[in-house]
């Protein structure tokens, strides 16, 4: 068995990430290597990177596990006679040393005053050789020694530990190595006598106005909050609901001494390993690692991934996804995956996500498609893994029986057979000599082709510019297909094709005109049941092809459309313009499809509005420029959703590169929550 390396966390190129190299010493070939691998998994993947801060920022790190084969096992050991003074190494004498031929030559002693271990004569060179040979770059080095006892020695980016340590110790130590955080415990009864410490989590300043973590201290929290040796809450009774690790104040003791210096919380990870980082340390870690996570809020998808009726959000960044769960008014981390999920879907920047309940379990699943980052096309189905995350339950590589995936396949989520499981329509008008449309039926755990149309559907000649929409216009519980083509023919066409569960039939085709609507190439369509009769209707907007903008409400009688209302120029309360953008919604939760409307181009400032349907007509209202603290802008993107869980689709996720907001539309447009750069709910204060 030869030395080797395995990258067990692959987030990106080494120069854009913090790289952790893991080396082992005293592990021979065979079972020892399994012991070593298991310890790496336990300490790092399941431990440090399986919890709180490191879990959500795993994408900032690469981990390289180097398997070094030692000729002998376990690691060398040394016994000291400490002469009754275990805190003073200077009078210690060596009782015995058992040297073994190990890869790095470390010697474990179990003596605290000797850093528990020490290097052998050539250890430094061997470590450097191993790093140079096996890892492209490194920032932190973890060396695991084959000795069952507790201990560990850190500093200078190195952590050297035996098998007896647990992950919480490592998470504390990484706080030093990656965040530059100070210890917050009080080992000595002494008082601090120096100046203001440079670390973010210690101070000698008790002035609220200039306190460096003052933005996290609630006005009602007394300062100092705790005085006396290594104090807890001493300034009066501890408030109800006070959190020792998340409520910030000013507590005496820290930096290993008990007096004369303050820490932010009673008990952070930098004091006693097990609690999560306090808001001050967490924010420092997040800020420090922000250039390495490379996270943005650009690609966000709403879905109820745990079936509690509230929409959550899936955020995709490069080769990672994060899922944040809604509790009705805020989001909390629920799932983080870097590079792949179990079952094996490997995330890539061009992954396309389609959210829907594909297995009818009341929770949303995710179909993910990638046609450009790999040598072939892939389609995967990701479902609940039983613990709040996702795993892959089906994957098609390049093709499925009856459908050959191609670069420009376009998917639409619809339950076309009415079995309560969302299915897929897939269309490709670009990559073949004729267009194709496939109906991919969900079995709950996979997909199978129900029908394929080559070149033509009933009474419809498919063309590359066909645009598709889904909605059950005949109210039979099966979602139907709407298709529009305004550019490939001499006149525009709109087809309504009803689904019988496995095939489509043309219910009605409109050539050039719909009732009271002249179709034009730039018509925009939004299929939704605006009169609440169980049959999907059609909103159609055109801001480009006429002198004024038009919005039509065409209701379905089950087989064809009639104009319920046409707005020429204005919807009451909203002056329509060329660049109006619309999203379907159900803002008042009455089962009648409404619209969100946004325009950032045609006015002096940005307008976000709602158009509510009473079944026959619309009434609009809007906010200009700001929604609470959200400054509307050209870069904003909107995802209609129901994060409140009150029914309908009356909310919006609003997001751009750096900001993420939760907007409620009822009773009026208001901002419920705002996040900058990362999603975290501070008990008081915020990170900007």
């Amino acid at each position: 068995m030869a030395d080797s390396v395995t990258q067990i966390l692959a987030s990106g190129p080494p120069g854009t990430k913090k790289n952790i190299a893991v080396l082992g010493d005293g592990f021979a070939a065979g079972a020892d290597q399994t012991t070593y691998n298991n310890k790496v998994q336990e300490l790092l993947i399941d431990g440090v990177f399986g919890h709180d801060y490191f879990y959500e920022d795993a994408q900032a790190f690469n981990i390289f596990r180097v398997n070094l084969i030692s000729n002998q096992s376990p690691v060398s050991v040394r016994v000291y006679d400490e002469h009754g003074t275990p805190t003073d190494a200077s009078d210690d004498t060596i009782v015995s040393t058992t040297l073994r031929d190990t890869a790095l030559g470390y010697i474990f002693s179990g003596s605290w005053a000797h850093c528990w271990l020490e290097p052998g004569a050539n250890t430094s060179t061997r470590v450097q050789n191993a790093l140079n040979t096996w890892v492209p770059d490194y920032d932190l080095v973890l060396i695991i020694l084959n000795d069952p006892r507790y201990g560990g020695c850190g500093g200078g980016g190195f952590q050297i530990v035996p098998l007896g340590v647990n992950w919480t110790v490592m998470a504390h130590e990484f706080g030093h190595g990656t965040g530059g955080l100070a210890d917050e415990y009080c080992a000595s009864p002494n008082a601090y006598t120096g100046g203001e410490p440079g670390q973010v989590d210690l101070t000698i300043n008790s002035n609220r106005a200039s306190l460096k973590w003052g933005n996290f201290v609630a006005p009602a929290t007394p300062l100092p909050t705790g005085t006396g040796a290594c104090a807890g809450f001493t300034a009066g009774p501890r408030p109800a609901g006070w959190s020792d690790d998340q409520d910030v104040g000013l507590f005496e003791g820290g930096g290993t001494v008990s007096l004369g210096i303050y820490r932010p919380v009673i008990n952070c990870r930098m004091r006693s390993n097990s609690p999560p980082y306090c808001p001050v340390c967490y924010t420092q870690m997040k800020r420090t690692m922000d250039p390495y996570t490379q996270h943005t809020f650009l690609k966000c998808y709403a879905g109820d991934f745990n079936g509690d009726g509230k929409d959550d959000v899936l955020i995709h960044n490069g080769n990672s996804i994060l899922i944040y769960r809604s509790n009705g008014s805020q989001l909390d981390i629920a799932f983080s995956a870097v590079e792949r999920v179990p079952g094996s879907w490997q995330f890539q920047p061009d992954d396309q996500f389609y959210v829907g309940d594909f297995n009818g379990d009341g929770k949303d699943e995710v179909v993910v498609y990638n046609s450009s980052n790999w040598a072939i096309e892939y389609l995967g189905l990701l479902a609940d893994n039983g613990s709040g995350g996702l795993h892959l339950i089906a994957r098609f590589d390049d093709a499925m029986p009856g459908w050959q995936f191609q670069r420009d396949d376009r998917f639409h989520v619809a339950d076309f057979n009415g079995d309560g499981r969302k299915d897929l329509f897939v269309f490709n008008g670009d990559n073949w000599s004729i267009p194709y449309l496939g109906m991919l039926r969900s079995t709950g755990s996979s997909f199978t082709l129900a029908h394929r149309y080559d070149a033509n559907m009933p009474s419809w000649q498919m063309r590359p510019g066909d645009q598709h929409f889904v909605g059950d216009f005949d109210g039979n519980g099966r979602e139907d297909l709407w298709v529009f083509n305004g550019g490939d023919w001499s006149i525009a066409y709109l087809g309504m094709l009803s689904s019988n569960g496995s095939t489509l039939a043309m219910s009605h085709r409109y050539d050039a005109n719909m009732p009271s609507w002249q179709m034009r190439p730039n018509d925009q369509h939004f299929v939704g049941d605006f009169d609440g009769n169980g049959k999907a209707d059609l909103y159609v907007f055109n801001g480009d092809d006429w002198s004024i903008a038009y919005l039509g409400m065409l209701s379905s009688d089950g087989s064809q459309l009639s104009m319920r209302h046409r707005y020429d120029g204005n919807v009451p309360g909203w002056q329509m313009r060329k660049h109006d953008q619309h999203w379907l919604a159900d803002i008042d939760g009455n089962g009648k499809a409404d619209l969100f409307v946004y325009n950032y181009q045609d006015w002096y400032s940005e307008y976000l509005g709602t158009m509510r349907s009473d079944g026959n007509a619309l009434s609009a209202s809007w906010r200009v420029d700001w929604i609470g603290e959200w400054n509307l802008g050209a870069v904003d993107r909107f995802e209609p959703c129901n994060f409140e869980g009150v029914g309908g689709r009356r909310d919006l996720f609003v997001h751009n590169h750096d900001w993420f907001g939760l907007i409620r539309a009822t009773p009026g447009l208001t901002l419920e929550r705002l996040y900058y750069r990362w999603i975290h709910n501070y008990r008081y204060g915020r990170n900007w």
Binding site: G15, G154, I393, N513, W546
Partner: protein, 247 residues
Amino acid sequence: MIEKPQIEMSSEETAEPIRDNPRKPEMTDRQPRPRRISGKVHLMEDQPAKPKSGANRMPAVPKKRATERQRGERPEQRELEQRKPQRTERLGYVRLRVHVQGGEMSVLDIASVEGPLVAHEALHGDYAYEVIVSGKRVASGSIPDAGVMRSFPHPKPAKGQEGHHFTPATSFDFLVRIPKSLVSESKLRRVQIPVYRIKEGPLPQTEGPEPLAERFERQLREVGRLHGVDIDKLPKSSQARARNALR
């Protein structure tokens, strides 16, 4: 007539429609005249015929389309075959391992690493460095946790054993990373790498050529400086690798 741009939306029900495209007509109930595409009128057939066979078609749908039941881990997804980048296109950086002993700094080795680099980071902890080439900062970073050996806290400490046991390190190494496009062997001879104690931190990530010492004059104190790197003065075992890295 050119319409005067309106700057604020009106909520009045009787507000005049905005004419964004005054040269275009208003919608009517008339049947539109078909437009010609390449001189011809193209209309969709009511009952389109089956397509004739031809090239670049999807394979026929198999008669039997059993649902595939999938279990377990799938094989690795197939990597794209990357075009080998030209030398001028190649991203990369060099990594210098700098040794500090008794206040003296020296370079122990220089390695080349492929790929892009985050060349500047937030500065935190006790020390930071920057790399200055021709008066311009080209890289900067933190040196966290340097100069100390820290024994992990004892799980059942005797009196006096609480917390870490700190031992000053007699020497330590830190890593300096510089985009490859900005250094060469000759430039390296003139490079300046000052090391600062962070007096007040943390300091935010900053880009741009202004040296840290000018930008954060109050917060940083210079404690050492490496004046140029001469590959001939590297340990013999590192020289060939260093030259290779700078090629």
